[in-house]
Symmetry: C2
Subunit: 148 residues, 2 copies
Amino acid sequence: MKLQAPSHEEHAMPVDLRMTPQRSVVHEVLRSSFDHPTATEVFLRSKDRMSTISLATVYNCLDALIEHGLIRQVNVDRDSSRFCANLNDHVHFHCEQCGVMMDADPIEKLDVTKFWKLPQGCQVTEPAIAIRGLCPTCVDKNQKVASR
Amino acid sequence: MKLQAPSHEEHAMPVDLRMTPQRSVVHEVLRSSFDHPTATEVFLRSKDRMSTISLATVYNCLDALIEHGLIRQVNVDRDSSRFCANLNDHVHFHCEQCGVMMDADPIEKLDVTKFWKLPQGCQVTEPAIAIRGLCPTCVDKNQKVASR
DNA sequence: GATGAGATCAAGAATCATTCTAATTCAAAA
DNA sequence: TTTTGAATTAGAATGATTCTTGATCTCATC
Ligand SMILES: [Mn+2]
Ligand SMILES: [Mn+2]
Ligand SMILES: [Zn+2]
Ligand SMILES: [Zn+2]
């Protein structure tokens, strides 16, 4: 993973990203995906639109799009990174059984210092929240199995 | 990552774990470490106490100890897993600059449904919270650099 | 329109944490 | 003591990601 301390003077919006055909395709794939695909999944979907695109290029495009704030990278544990074109503030619900990942919109801002005693002198950048559980499909599936 | 749906009938406490010399050493290393070492770091520290222990065994021991609830695995993004012998309910503060990881004890229980709109029908198992920021040491270091 | 500098793309190699395999050793039960 | 399954170990395999390197493209300038 690339640790990249956000500098305070950096702008929220991209300055200049040459929107090449490959980057367009990758961006478009993500904007029309709501399941948070992995790099390989993005690669497969991109090939439908541009059969010559390579996995290396998909990784390059994802990096470029992330750096310019057009998409977000989502990590849950050490699983493959997933990617998300929803730029609104949100966290992720992750199904422990099938792996599906869904957006969860914020209701109110969480002040971490209200909930946890941070070590003296720590400066909080951002809490990373991932909500684990069972998606509706898996809840149903389990109920059916249990009642047999 | 090992996806392992927690079954409802499983017991919270370990039933039987043969406490072999290697498992003892790994456990003892973790109980005397407060910096959340990686598997390789656990391996190096274990070698001080048992020079013949192998990395494969350390991985096996960590798995066994985790499965029996004697230690916890901590993941931040896709970095190497870290391990923690603090079994009290707590979350982790992770320094973005130096990578140090510290425990943060809960003040009050967080009800995720108060803060985020979960998709209809989702069953929450557990929220995974990691707090990112700068540790006191890095805050100081940066201040000194800035004032030069 | 031609040229050159720098960005982008792409194939394949390298990396590295982790898992797997298979052979050996160990330990508790019979 | 023999048996049998578990534990240990070295080393190979895996797989996501990053790196390297050469080809290709873009676009400003001539
Ligand atoms: Mn999302
Ligand atoms: Mn801890
Ligand atoms: Zn599911
Ligand atoms: Zn630090």
